[in-house]
């Protein structure tokens, strides 16, 4: 009993330590990301005042006023401290292209993207896992070769090209989906019916899912091979277990956690994919906003999006770590062994 309590206490300690380490890491990471991205933008020839004025004609007084506002003539350190200070207060500034607070833009766009990414994350995860299990089980057969070829090909496929092909087939040729999907700026999600929105979600989500399948399927296939050549599967075979039942009883059970972990580690690529896909389908998400912000020198928005994306990736990595450290009993086993 005493032993058990000790163990539990140990687990608690571990949890606290983990949380502390993660928090520290997040904070230091955000600071460095802020510094680095700010420095990069500072290096660039971007002129925020120009970007703000755009096509408008303004009086020299107005221009001077704007320059003052953007701190064009103040030294970089001052500008950074100013910007960082505002961020600490939760103020990311005003988007130049949308002319509303950056936080509002991000909230809206990121929600749209999250739905897109979540949908394809789930679909690609489940589909990829199933394909990987099938390929791993039928190793060396034609069905394995088909799945492998599919995965190899998709891993080499430019995301934006696949998006273009699907757009050509399903929107231009078959006419199932509209071509220009974007909502005019200013029309918020409320003005779009659920069906409309689902309609415009399908193609981007399908594109991202098709691409996401490749990695997880190949990983599952390899992992299943590893599991199937493990001592415990050998023993299961020696006890007369075989075929699909063997794979379901031992294979799926042991491959699932690592596969989910990998899927969480894929947040970075998922985000990158979303940027490209949103651009092709004009899906009003954070990726498209990032591209517009970059092309049209919307510095506050771009920096805001970079921070959000870093948070997003960090979340994925943390989930993976949690699974690894706390959920998977095999880790405890190894710890106990050592």
């Amino acid at each position: 009993m005493k032993h058990e309590k000790l163990l539990k206490f140990g687990g608690h300690e571990k949890l606290l330590g983990f949380a502390g380490k993660k928090t520290f890491k997040l904070i230091s990471l955000l600071i460095v990301v802020c510094l680095a991205s700010f420095w990069l933008i500072e290096q660039s020839p971007i002129d925020p005042v120009r970007a703000y004025i755009g096509e408008m004609s303004v009086t020299p007084e107005k221009q001077a006023q704007l320059e003052e506002y953007w701190g064009v003539n103040s030294p970089p350190q001052e500008k950074f401290l100013n910007w960082a200070g505002n961020i600490l207060k939760g103020d990311f500034g005003t988007s130049l292209i949308y002319r509303i607070p950056v936080t509002d833009v991000i909230k809206e766009k990121f929600t749209a993207s999250l739905i897109l990414m979540a949908a394809s994350w789930l679909i690609s995860g489940i589909l990829g896992f199933i394909l990987g299990i099938i390929a791993g089980m039928k190793r060396g057969t034609w069905i394995d070769k088909i799945i492998k070829t599919y995965c190899y090909t998709l891993a080499a496929t430019p995301t934006f090209w696949l998006a273009l092909v699907l757009l050509m087939v399903f929107s231009v040729y078959l006419g199932w989906f509209p071509i220009g999907l974007s909502v005019p700026i200013g029309v918020t999600a409320d003005n779009v019916t659920f069906l409309d929105w689902l309609h415009r979600l399908i193609l981007p989500a399908v594109t991202l899912s098709l691409l996401g399948v490749a990695q997880i399927a190949m990983f599952t296939r390899e992992k299943l091979k590893e599991v199937l050549s493990s001592d415990y599967v050998l023993f299961a075979k020696a006890r007369g277990e075989k075929g699909l039942n063997l794979v379901l009883r031992h294979g799926v059970r042991n491959v699932a956690l690592p596969a989910i972990t990998l899927q969480f580690l894929g947040f970075s690529e998922l985000f990158g994919g979303a940027v490209l896909v949103e651009q092709v389908f004009s899906y009003p998400g954070i990726g498209q906003a990032a591209v517009s912000a970059g092309l049209r020198s919307d510095v506050p928005l771009l920096l805001g999006i970079v921070l959000v994306s870093a948070l997003f990736v960090f979340f994925g990595n943390t989930m993976a770590d949690i699974i690894y450290e706390f959920v998977d009993p095999r880790i405890k086993q190894e710890e106990a062994a050592s």
Binding site: D231, Y232, R239, G240, R253, N254, P329
Partner: protein, 387 residues
């Protein structure tokens, strides 16, 4: 218990071998064409003539890719023969990496795909094909693995011990599992545990339970005793003794010759991928003068209580090609003949040996072709004795 009797009767009458799948039934089902009464009365005799498992002259090799994708062949086991009898424990003793586990895997048909197996394995007098192995393993032939690593790290213990059974049998099996655990003093909490939560002794009992629950006739234990303290070791050995007492044939694979001697009836000495001698346990005494092979004698004398006389040299490598006796390099009794051709298997004093110079005074150096199959030779040896 009624069940038991029924099967017995049937077996007694049937000339066909019955595959008995009754749970927990620990009966001797060795094939026989005689009524049971006769079987029971003349145990010694029958055990010797009717081996449950007969491994004849098997060889095992691997094809491997070396650097640069060149293929190479690696011989692990060659010309290996042995027999396992119901009610007996046969220990297979050999050093680490000599291919003992692979022998077990060959019998069970669970070799890796790049392995090639030649030779003949018979079970109950019938050739054990890969299909037959698939059919019998887990039912008639059970493996007791070496460590807890052979259990699925993510599956509850009771589910693993029960194994993959049809839904309608699950309750029955669950009860049986509970009973077996009770017998081995495994508490109900253990059912719900994961492998990493077991202590060493518990793990041992769980692994043994997997064989017990299968009601197998042939049990192959692959190094079941590494790193156990004296008490747990004896306890574990006693489980196997119990199995043999229940008319199972037990093959105990180990590199611990002392542990093997505690319970075994026969000891097969494994060296460089082959069995050099099968000796009776009682032959291991004094200076080993009853042992037939120089290596076995050397092994015996290398034990601490026998004066630690270690033999010089090492086992040949797996990629070495050897024409003659595998022990040639280290043997003190070698002669010219030994480097030319593999010594034939001979039966001497109720044991088998593969050595040119091992000759019992009782046996005239009989013509060598007949000595390949110990069976015939043994009869002749007996005849000599009777004369």
């Amino acid at each position: 218990m009624e069940n038991k009797a029924e099967i017995n009767v049937e077996e007694g009458l049937n000339t066909e071998i019955e595959i008995n799948e009754e749970f927990g039934n620990k009966l001797n089902v060795t094939s026989n064409k005689r009524p049971i009464s006769e079987l029971d009365s003349s145990t010694e005799e029958k055990k010797k003539t009717e081996a449950l498992l007969k491994v004849e002259d098997i060889s095992l090799s691997f094809t491997q890719y070396a650097s640069g994708l060149r293929q190479t062949k690696l011989n692990i086991i060659s010309n290996l023969s042995l027999e396992a009898h119901s009610g007996e424990i046969l220990a297979v003793v050999g050093s680490s990496g000599s291919g003992k586990s692979l022998l077990a895997h060959a019998i069970l048909g669970i070799l890796p795909s790049n392995a090639k197996l030649d030779g003949k394995i018979e079970y109950k007098g019938r050739i054990l094909t890969q299909e037959k192995k698939k059919e019998l393993r887990g039912k008639e032939i059970a493996l007791v693995p070496q460590s807890v690593n052979y259990l699925d790290p993510l599956m509850r213990i009771s589910d693993q011990v029960i194994g993959d059974v049809a839904e309608e049998d699950e309750k029955l099996m669950k009860n049986l599992q509970r009973k077996i655990f009770q017998r081995y003093d495994l508490k109900p909490e253990v059912d719900k545990m994961l492998p990493h939560e077991l202590s060493g002794g518990m793990a041992r009992r769980v692994l043994v339970s997997t064989a017990i629950i299968s009601s197998a006739k042939l049990i192959i234990a692959d190094e079941p005793t590494p790193g156990l303290d004296e008490k747990t070791l004896n306890e574990t050995l006693s489980y196997f003794k119990d199995m043999a007492d229940n008319r199972c044939a037990v093959i105990l694979i180990t590199h611990d010759i002392e542990a093997a001697l505690k319970i075994s009836d026969k000891i097969a000495v494994f060296y460089a991928g082959t069995v050099l001698e099968v000796a009776n346990a009682r032959d291991f005494k004094n200076n080993g003068e009853n042992l037939r092979h120089p290596y076995t004698r050397a092994l015996w004398n290398a034990l601490p209580q026998n004066g630690f006389q270690a033999i010089v040299g090492h086992q040949p490598m797996q990629d070495e090609v050897i024409d003659g006796c595998v022990f040639y390099e280290r043997c003190s009794k070698k002669n010219d003949l030994c480097s030319r051709g593999i010594p034939l298997l001979k039966e001497i004093d109720g044991g088998v040996v593969r050595c040119n110079n091992a000759v019992s005074e009782e046996i005239p150096n009989s013509d060598e072709t007949s000595s390949i199959h110990g069976h015939e030779l043994k009869i002749s040896a007996k005849e000599v004795k009777e004369v």
